[in-house]
Structure formats: structure tokens, C-alpha cells
Symmetry: C5
């Protein structure tokens, strides 16, 4: 259902869906919101909105600011993290929000009811003085500001995931870590795709180029623009942190392989020579054939001496390997 | 065969190939399409098209917009994925499309009949009102828009391949995965080589600089330009995803080597010491020579005690390795 | 407690917190400093500071320069390294410093008392002639200069840590090295997030665009700007050095694995064939069954010849491996 | 030997080396070419060419366009691949070509006779009508165009080498592959060092800024500029492909190590336990001492049962390893 | 000691240190050079040089060009390679050179006597006509040109080191190689920190913006600027080459590990099965207990047949491994 609201300094009043023209012509600022494709067309006709703008909302275009003769069109995207099937598996989901600022009217186009729109709408319905004092460009600022503020919460969650992953790396090389990092990387890529063009779009408003942004409102858009610049910075920083975590993970794996090899080498280096020794005294040369043939076998202390010698060799090697930090 | 079409608000009529001059001078918008090198020259002469423009179509030049006194020349490229010999082996193939917009005429130069040209041509022949209302710059927009729309389908296919590869990574380290990723990388490089300059070329039209782009048509080119910016973003995102998949793949390989080494080390660490023990009791020291020489061999429980001891050592090591997640 | 100071060429005098209006209207340059959120509002009201400026200090906004009709707003950040729990674990901590330069007044907003502010304040209280001679823009320069000078100390500490890490790499592959490098990387990312926008903010002042920066003061801001450009360069250089140290570390690990494998291979290559030989002479073929069955066992020099042969083979292999640099 | 040529619409005539002044003052366009350092100075004096231009040709300066009062100076570089000592060992070799366009004269400075200069010179001597019609800026275009066209051949060769290397990677990890890729990388770095500044230099001519480039010639330079942009793109694409080939190569190596380790582990895992078993039955516990001491040795089927058991264990392990794709 | 020199077309004359004012006011171009901090202040006072300029020389600021009302200040840095303690251990050392060009005077500020200053000074003292003809901006060019020319020598040395390292890589994986490459990388980072801002500083002079650079001198600065652009390119190229050498080195290491593993696997795969065989015939099953217990031991050709069988198996495996290029 299309809703229309007209407000002036002294109050706000709702209009019927069927009274679009009356609402448009009423004295004060008119805000009309449409939330289905069908409604888009009716509102577009009533306010002279170009079909390209409507199509942009329909087809999930990139965030942007475009000027038309009768209005300024701003497309931004509300972003939420949708929980995925696996741990660390969430996906950034965005929904287009189209705003057309005219001289004394504002049309918002969304494909379903969205919280940021409702929030500002309710503030006007409650007749908050601050809301009533300004025109459609200020209402647009409030909607965009609310959308952008939620980006920070989203990035905080991604940042929390990176920290969780970092902590789990030190518990041993687990292949899920890399999957988790890849999911984070994917999220940041998606998010960046939304934030970068939004920064440009709001930058245009902050510079006050469009006709339908009043000079008094520019500084508010500048404030949102600052937030967007910070979000872009944060996104890049998180990508860097994710890369750092990946490096540590891969290193942990190399470290593990190195440790494993050391264990094997230590075991083999100690045991193999001893096995050779016992193999020697297991040979069947005939001591009766000559005095040179394994006389050790007949010595009184042959066996304990051999065992002691083997123990000594092992001990020396163990000390050596411990000194070399192989154990 | 050169085809010529003249249309006005009230209808469209075809002209003979031989009546190029008549078509050019007829009242309304003239569209001539040439599809072989030989035809290029004849049309170029009839409409005063510079040989540099014709050469650009012939020699597969980069997408671009160039202004001449009598017309604006736009070169774009239609892209298709040509299936290759191996799985994951496709190649991006592009074909040049030259468009010359004059005051009230349009010449399209392609090296064979191409679907996007035919599609728009037929719309005029069917006398669609929307087509008849505008001039040659709008026809050009329709052709370019159709070509650019197909880029999305192509990128979707590449995206699908990346997803397939990602899924196959978790089935074990298979060298074909890396070849597949390299093929995707190659495709994205080719595609980027087409999309980047196209974005620039359409950007020039969207800013309305050229003489033969009317102000009313600019906003349509701006819409195509938006799509191209999105395509450039998507290409970069896919490259990033392909890089991420490669990292996971390489890690899977390291992981596998790590597992293999652990298996070897566990086997060696358990069996080698036991082999040493049995080697010891295989020595031939003469128990008759002295009481110190291997008295164990004569003990009543020597053999079962040895076997039990070996079993105990193995058990302890197995428990230890399991605790360390080596098994 | 809000403090206010009014100074002219001939001296400086403090004002009561309650006499803000008197201080503002007094002859000379007025400097008011507020250090709690509550104080911010009172000062903002007295000097007509926009709530967006106050919010920026409250919400830790990015460094920036913004012009308002009545004043120029500069936000910079004081940075300190806060010692962390582990070795190499420090974190860059920054605190916002808001400066509003008016025609003949300066308001500084910080969330607690900060050394750079106190330092310059005291210089005026001591009536240093150089301080008294200039207006609020010069005082602002002195504060920012002091903050930026401390950045160098901070970067020096980070540089020292990189050098410590580099030196410890050559003592063997220790996983703490990579954690230390990651901490450094994190510090440099944080620091960069502060220095980059500060450079931009001071650049605006150095170009003298804002109304409340006098031409005579520009060259001082240019000097701070130079320092900031150098800091940005240094940050990038340190990031590069940290990357280089990481590469060396990872290589040390590969080198170690390579050495370990060589040791294992040398041991196995020498011992295994010998073990085979002694195994052969441990076989129980019956020499009595035929003259072909292990006649060596009955030879007079069988045993010493075998031992000599084994020693020779070992010696040859050892020489070979040493030549190949495997030992 | 300096050669001079004067041409007009109606023909071309050669001048003696000693008649430089007559050639310069003759009616029509004068082209003088100098090919040794000594000649440079004489021509420079006759045409008022600044010593800085001459020095640039002498000292192998970077490609550039510079404007002087009396002429426009363009420096480009002819590039050839010089075959190296080893396979894949070629080096990009470049030679400076200086062009000075005056009002109605052109001086070319090269350090030896070069094909592109001769080629265009001969076209004028043959009195090709197209050549005679234009001034010195068009001649310059023809020379530069010919030089740039050869860049494509050079890049094709490098591309061919990358393809050869790619194919050889799949034949097994051969260290020459990486050397080959490094040589390609080196070539592309050299080539980029030539192409980038050439693009800038021709871009200046294509924009028609210099006084001595006529408006009618600009579009020809724009065409060369297009080629240079494409060459820059191609160079980057080839660098990317070379990087991709290196990744595949390094992976092939890791893959090989992985396979080797699997082989070793399979062999050790099957043989070591069997060796333990046979070691057990090689022990010399005295069966006469008690009934517990190795009664198996006296069993009728002890030996065949042991052999069968060992065969079964081997078989099971072989099946298991095959299932795990370790064999 | 401060030295002062005044020159005109007809000659040059030295002034006493105490006659700074006379030198400044003398007819012709005055050049004063100061080489200690103390001298800086005296010269600064005599010529009205701002303390910020003097501080820049004192504090090792980045290269830059700054305009003051009375003079143009240029800071460049002379660079030398200081031999380090180890092979490949050199460090780029730079020293600030401050130049102040006034209307008809030049002041150079260095912290010790430097060769490039002396070189140009002596040329004037020798009354070289070329030197006497121009003003202070040309002298500045000569000094900067000499400093920049030495950068090439420095880069050549670094390039030579890279080549040395490349050659030593092929002699086997030696950890010093990576240290050497890291030292080169460090040098290039230092050098880049000097060359980049110098390029910017000279670029300002080459564009002729500053008041005290005459139009006739611009082209000389353009020449130095060209050299600096080339130096920046070279630095990046060398960094790329160093990266390539590192890749080859790391690969050599992987290759070595691969070879080592192959050796181990070949040895183990051949010897372990043979050891099993000899172990079997070393078992003590009692042939007397049944005809099934090791009848082979009593066969006439048991021993030679076993040895032959083992030789055959070894031979087959050796042939196989050689075919697979494992040997
Ligand atoms: Mg659209
Ligand atoms: Mg996630
Ligand atoms: Mg906000
Ligand atoms: Mg953490
Ligand atoms: Mg973007
Ligand atoms: Mg941007
Ligand atoms: Mg062309
Ligand atoms: Mg493909
Ligand atoms: Mg479309
Ligand atoms: Mg997936
Ligand atoms: Mg491009
Ligand atoms: Mg662009
Ligand atoms: Mg803010
Ligand atoms: Mg730290
Ligand atoms: Mg300072
Ligand atoms: Mg150090
Ligand atoms: Mg920034
Ligand atoms: Mg900047
Ligand atoms: Mg030069
Ligand atoms: Mg080559
Ligand atoms: Mg060409
Ligand atoms: Mg191929
Ligand atoms: Mg360049
Ligand atoms: Mg460029
Ligand atoms: Mg890597
Ligand atoms: Mg300074
Ligand atoms: Mg060095
Ligand atoms: Mg020079
Ligand atoms: Mg070399
Ligand atoms: Mg710079
Ligand atoms: Mg620059």
C-alpha cells in the first residue's frame, strides 16, 4: 500500500493512497513511499519520475546520485548479514532504496517495507519538531544516515569474526579456518561493492551540486560522507587483517609440517643406527671357523657392553637434538 | 549484402543495396548496415566515413568513441564464450561492432551478421513506436545496450565456474583445479580488456560531449554506463574470488602433505623402536659364555613379557598421537 | 573544568569558567578549552559551534578540516602506544582533539586533559613573546605540531620492534616472530588510519583555503604538512620492511624443513643399506644343505671383511653427501 | 653520411650532404636524416636544434615529446628482441629515434641507419602521392607508426614463449621453466619501460597541443595512440599470464613433493610392520626354557600362517591406500 | 667557513666571510655557501632566509620546492652507498642540500662540504664562460644535475648486486641470498624515499612556476626532471627484479626439498622390501617341526636364488625410478 504524508512546521497529516495528487499539491512537504513494483509505476506517473530511475530500483542497480530536471534521484542500499548454513557462513545481503527529492516532495521506492524508512516516517508522524522544520532533502539525509549507521554494526560483526578466527588459529591448523577467512573475504568484497559507490553518491550530495539539496543540508550529507569514508577505510583494514590471519594460518601449517619432520628425523636418527648394531650381532658368522668371526658374541660382557653403548649413543643424540631445539 | 532502412515517426521502409544515395537523402533517419570488408568501403564512400574508422573495425581495435566532423564513431565489442576442448576450457571471443552516428543517419559495420544488430533492426522494421520516435543516437544506444546486457550472462557463467571449482576443491587436491582456475583467470583478463575501454567509450557518450548525441539520449547512455561500471566491479570481484579459491586449493595441498607426513611419522615412531627391541633379542651373544649374555632368552616369561611390553609401548604412543590429533 | 585564557601582545590573563561570555568579548585572543562532554555543550553554545563538530569529537570521527561560517573546525588525533599483555603486543591508541578557530578565538575540545594542549597553554600563561604575537590559527598550529611530532616517536618504536624481530629471526624459526610481525602490521594499519586523513586535513590548512587561517600562518602548516607526508612515507616503508621480515622468516622455516629432510635422508641412505647387509648374514639358510648356502659365514675373514665393506660404503656416502652440502 | 630530401606535391629531389642550407631553404618540405653523433651537431646547427635534444638521442633518454620555439621534438625507441645465449633467453633491445618537426622541415636523429626511417624515406623517393601531399608531421607519424607496429610482433613473440612455457609445465617440474618465466618477466619489464612513456609522448601529439602538429594530422596520431594503449594493456595481460604460469609451476612442484611423500609413506606403512613381525620370529628366546617362549616356532603351520597373515595385512593396506587415492 | 663568490659576464671574485653584506650588494650574481649550523644563521640573517628553510636543512626534511616572497627554496639530497659490515650490506646514506635562489643571489646550505657544490663552485672560480653567462637558477640547476647524475651510479651498483645474487642462486639454496635480497630491497626503499619527492620538487622548477626560475632555465630543469622520472622507473624495475630473484630462490629451495625427498623415497622403496625378505629368512621357525616351516632354508640354491631375486627387484625399481626422473 502506498502511504503519503504531508508535513509543515505546524504538524503532519497522512493522505489516502488514492489521493496522491491531493497530497502532492497540498501545502508543505509531501513524502510518498511505494513498496511494490506496481506502486512504483503509479507514483512515478503522479510525480513525473523517469522510468530509468524506477528500473534502477527494480534491477538492483549500483548506488548513485543522478539529477533529473524535476528531481534528484539517489539510490542507496540497505545491508544486512544473513546467517548462512555453516559457522562463519553469513552473507551480506543488500536491498535497494530509491529516493527522489523534488522541490517540496520526496518519493521513496523500496521493494518491501524497510526499517530505516519506517523509522524516519514515524518520527514525522510523531511530529518531532526537528523533522518538521526541514524539507525533503533533510528527510533523505535521515534515511541515508540510518542506513549508513547500520553498516558499522555489520562491519563490527565481520571484525568479530576475524578475531574469532585469529584466536582459533593458535589451537592448531584446522582447514575450517581458511574457509572461514574466505567467507569473511567474500563478505568484505560484497560490502565494498556497496560502500564504494555509496560514498561517491553521497559525496555528490555533500558537495551540494544537485539542485534539490539546500545549502543548509549540505553539512549533514558531509557528515554521512565522513562516515562512508571511514567505512571504506575500515573495509580495507579488515581485508588487510584477514590477509594477515591467512598468513599466520599458512605458517602454522608449515610450522606443523616442520615439527612433524623433526620428530620423524629424530626417531629415525636414533633408532636406525641402533637397529644396525643389533643386526650386526644377529649375523650368523661362524665363530668356530676363525677367531676373527664375531668373537664379541663369546665375550663375557659382550651383551651388557653393547646395550650400554647403545644407551650412550641414544643419550648423546637426545641431548644434541634437544640443544638444537628439535625436541 | 548491404541493407538500408529509412524510418520516420510514421513508419519504416527498406531500400535496395544499390540505392544507398537515395536512402541517405530520404526524409527520416537512415540506417545502413554493412557486414563484409568490401561493403565497408562502399558505405564509407557514400557517407564520408574516414578510412581510420573502417580500419578500426577491420583490425579489431579497442572499444572507443571518436569524433569526426560529420559523425561520431563508436566501436564496441560483442562477447561470447566459446566452449573449449577441456572442461573449464572456454575462451572469451569478441567481435568488433562499429557504429557511425551522423546527423540523421547511422552506419553499422560488423564483420558478419550479429544478433544485437538484427534484433534492433527488426524492432524498427516492425515499426515499434518507441523506436521510430528517436534518432540514430537512440538506435545506437539500443544496440550497445543489448551487447552490454549479454556481458552479464557471460560473467554469470564465469561465476558459475568459480563456484564449481570451489566445490571441487574440498574433494581433495586435484591438479585440474588449478588449470581450471587459470582458465577462469584468463577469461577474466580477456573480458576486462573489453569492458574497461567500453566503459570509457560509453562514458564519453553519457557525458554528452559528442555532437551527434542529443541531450535527450544522454540519460540512456548513462544507464548503460552504470551497467559497465558494475561489470568492471564484478570482473574485479571474480578475480578476487578466483584468487581466494587458488589460496584454498594450495592450502588443501599443504594440508594433505602435512597429513601424509604425520601418518609416516606415526608409523615410523611406533614400529621402529619395536623393531629395535626384536632386533636385540635376535642377537647371537652366547648365553653360555657368561651369565651376563642375554639371560632374558632363557627366562620362562621372556617372550610373553617382551611382547606385552611392546604392546604397551605401542598403546601409549597411539593414545599420545591421537591426543595430539596426529591420527 | 572549563578554562579560559585571553592574551594580547602585552600579556595573558585567565578567566573563570563562569565568565565565558566575558572572555569571549574581551579584547585579544580568547582560548577556551573544554575536556568533558558536558562542557562541550556549554562552550558550543557560547561560541556558536555546530552540534556536528561537537559530535565528531564525541564519536571519534576521522581527522578532518571543515569550514563553518563562524569558524574553521579541525579534528586531529593524539596517538600513543599502549603496552599490551604480551611481548610485541602494543596497540596504537588515539584520542580526538577538536580545534575551532574563530576570528579572534579558539576552542579546543578533548575528552580528557591532554599533554599537547597543556603544553601550549602553559607557554601562553608564561607569556612567551612568540606565542602572544600571533592569533588563534598559530596556537592551533602549535598544538597540531606537538601532536604530529609525537607521531615520529611512535613510529620509531615500531621501527625498533621490526629491527628486534629481524634480529630474532636468525636465531631459528619461532612462531612468536610471526605473531610479533602481525602485531606490528596491525599497529601500522591503525597508525595509517590516523596519519592519512590528518595529512589531508592539514593540507587544507597549508593551502590556506580556510578563512580563519591567516596568510602568515600558512607556511607553518606547510611545515607540519611536510612532516605528515614524511610520516605517511615512513609508514609505508615500515610496512614494506615488515613484509620483508615475514618473507625471511617463512624462508627460514622452509630452510629448516629442508635441512631436517636432508638429515633424515642422509641417515636413512647410509644406515638402511647396511641394515640390509647385516640382515643378509642373519638369514638362516643351512650351509650344510649345499656349498651355495651362505658359504661366507664359514670363511675365516667373513666377519671383518663385511664390517670393513660396510665402513667403506658409509665413508664413501659421507664424503659424497658432504660434497653435495647435505651435511 | 647526412642525406637530405626535399619534396612537394609534384615530386621529390635529393640534396648533397654539403648543401644543407640550400635544402633547408628550398621550396617544399625538407627532411634531413643524421645517423652519427658527428652529423647530429652539423644538422643541429643548420636547423637550430637545441643541444638538449641532441643529448637526449645520444644518451638514450626516455621517449617524450618536448616543444621548443622552432620545432617539436619527439623521441621514440625502436625495439627488437636480441636472441640470448640460452633457450628463452632473449633481451629487448631498444634504439633511440629523435624527430624534430619544424614548420616545413623534419630532422631525424638516429645512432645508426634504422629500417623504419629508410622505409618511409624510400616511399617519398618513389614519390608516392600520399606521402607528398602532407607535411613533416605526417612523415613523423609514418615513422612512429612503423616503429609501433613492430612492437606488436615483439609482444607476439613474448606471448608465444609464455605459451611454450605453459605447455612444458605439464611435463613435470623442471627448474628451467622458472628461469624462462623470469626471462619473460624481464622482457616485459624492459618493454613496459619503453611503451609507457611512448604512449604519453604520442598522446601529446594526438591531443594536438604542439604547434607543429597540424589539425589534419592529429587523427593519425590518435590512431597510433590507440595502438600504444593496446600495447600497454597487452603488456599487463602478459605479465598476468606469466604470473599465472609461475603459480601453476610452483603448484606442480608441491604436487610432486606430495606424491613423493605419499609413495614413501605407503611403502613404509606396509613394509615396516611386516619387518617387525619377521623380526619377532627372528628372536632367540629359548623355547626349551618354558612353553611360553615362542611356541609358534615349533608349530607345524607357523611359517605359512605367518606369511599368509603378512600377505593379508599388505593386501588390506594396499586396498585402503588405493581408496584414499594415495596410490 | 662561509665562502662568498660574486660573478658577472666578465669574471668572478671571492669575498671574505666577514663581507657578506658587501657580497650581497655587489654588482653581479652572489653565491654564498654555508656548511655548519652556526653559519646557517648568519647567512639566513644577511639574506632574509626564513627559519623554516634553515630548519629543513638541519632536520633532514624531505626534498621539496617552496616559494617565499624573496626567494625560492629547494631542498635536494645527495646520496651515497655506505659499505656495511657484511657482503651485500650497504646502506643508502643521504645528506640534505638546501638551495635558496633569490633575484640575483644564491645561498647553499649543507651540513658539511659536499662534492657537487665544490665542483660547480670551482667551475665559476675558473671563470668558465658558460657558467658566468647565467644567473643563480642556472647554478642551482648545475648543482642539482650533478647530484642527480650520481643517483644513476648508485642504482647501477644496486643493479650489479641483484645480478650477483641472481648468479649465486643457481649455485644452491644459501640463506645469505635472501639476506642479500632483503638488503637490496631496503636500499631501494631508501632510495625511492629520496627520488620520489625530488622528482616532484624538480617538476615544480621544470614547469617554471617559481618566480626565481627564469624561462630560459626551465628547459634545463626539464632535462633533470626527465632523469628523475627515469630513476623512479629504474627503481621500480629493480624492485621487480629483486622480487623475481626471490621467487627463483624460494623455488630453488622447494626444488631442493623435492629432490631430497625423492632420494629418500627411492632408497626406502628399494631397501625396505629387501630388508623384509632377509628378515623372513632370519626367522627361527623350526624346519624340523614340519615340512611347511621354511623349507627354503634347506634348499641347495635357496641362498643364491634369494640374492638373485633381490637383485632383480632392485634392478627393476631402479629402472622405473630413472624413467620417472626420480634419479
Ligand atoms: Mg539503470
Ligand atoms: Mg561471514
Ligand atoms: Mg550518522
Ligand atoms: Mg585478537
Ligand atoms: Mg567504483
Ligand atoms: Mg572515489
Ligand atoms: Mg585504428
Ligand atoms: Mg572458462
Ligand atoms: Mg540494459
Ligand atoms: Mg560456493
Ligand atoms: Mg584502460
Ligand atoms: Mg576510467
Ligand atoms: Mg560527524
Ligand atoms: Mg607493537
Ligand atoms: Mg614539527
Ligand atoms: Mg637490522
Ligand atoms: Mg584518504
Ligand atoms: Mg592525498
Ligand atoms: Mg635529456
Ligand atoms: Mg625472452
Ligand atoms: Mg599502425
Ligand atoms: Mg596455452
Ligand atoms: Mg610513466
Ligand atoms: Mg597516462
Ligand atoms: Mg606466496
Ligand atoms: Mg620543515
Ligand atoms: Mg646493498
Ligand atoms: Mg644530467
Ligand atoms: Mg643476470
Ligand atoms: Mg610523493
Ligand atoms: Mg608525480
Amino acid at each position: 500500500m502506498i502511504s503519503a504524508l504531508v508535513y509543515r512546521d505546524d504538524g503532519a497529516s497522512a493522505y489516502e493512497e488514492t489521493a496522491l495528487d491531493a497530497a502532492r499539491d497540498a501545502d508543505g512537504t509531501t513524502w510518498v513511499r511505494a513498496t511494490t513494483g506496481e506502486e512504483f509505476d503509479r507514483v512515478a506517473e503522479a510525480f513525473g519520475i523517469h522510468s530509468l530511475s524506477v528500473e534502477d530500483v527494480r534491477n538492483d542497480a549500483r548506488p548513485k546520485t543522478e539529477e533529473y530536471d524535476e528531481y534528484t534521484f539517489v539510490l542507496v542500499r540497505m545491508a544486512t548479514l544473513r546467517a548462512g548454513e555453516q559457522v562463519f557462513e553469513e552473507e551480506v545481503q543488500t536491498r535497494p532504496v530509491g529516493l527522489c527529492f523534488g522541490d517540496d516532495w520526496l518519493v521513496t521506492l523500496t521493494r518491501r517495507e524497510l526499517e530505516p524508512i519506517n523509522y524516519v516516517w514515524n518520527a514525522i508522524e510523531r511530529e518531532e519538531p526537528r523533522m518538521l522544520r526541514f524539507g525533503p532533502d533533510y528527510v533523505g539525509y535521515r534515511v541515508i544516515d540510518r542506513i549508513v549507521d547500520e553498516y558499522f554494526g555489520l562491519l563490527d560483526e565481520v571484525g568479530g569474526e576475524i578475531e574469532l578466527i585469529e584466536d582459533s588459529i593458535f589451537e592448531g591448523p584446522d582447514p575450517e579456518v581458511l574457509e572461514g577467512l574466505n567467507a569473511v573475504r567474500r563478505d568484505l568484497l560484497s560490502f565494498r561493492k556497496t560502500v564504494w559507490p555509496t560514498r561517491e553518491a553521497v559525496g555528490v550530495l555533500a558537495r551540494g551540486d544537485p539542485d534539490y539539496v539546500r545549502e543548509a543540508t549540505e553539512k549533514y550529507y558531509r557528515d554521512v560522507y565522513d562516515h562512508l569514508v571511514e567505512l571504506v577505510d575500515l573495509t580495507e583494514t579488515y581485508r588487510d587483517l584477514a590477509r594477515g590471519a591467512r598468513d599466520i594460518y599458512l605458517n602454522t601449517l608449515s610450522q606443523s609440517t616442520n615439527e612433524v619432520m623433526k620428530t620423524l628425523t629424530v626417531v629415525a636418527t636414533i633408532i636406525l643406527p641402533l637397529t644396525l648394531v643389533v643386526g650386526i650381532y644377529g649375523m650368523n658368522f661362524d665363530p668356530g671357523a676363525s677367531a676373527f668371526n664375531m668373537p664379541e658374541l663369546g665375550w663375557a660382557y659382550g651383551y651388557p657392553a653393547t646395550m650400554l653403548g647403545m644407551a650412550l649413543v641414544s643419550g648423546v643424540l637426545l641431548v644434541y637434538f634437544r640443544r638444537e631445539h628439535w625436541l
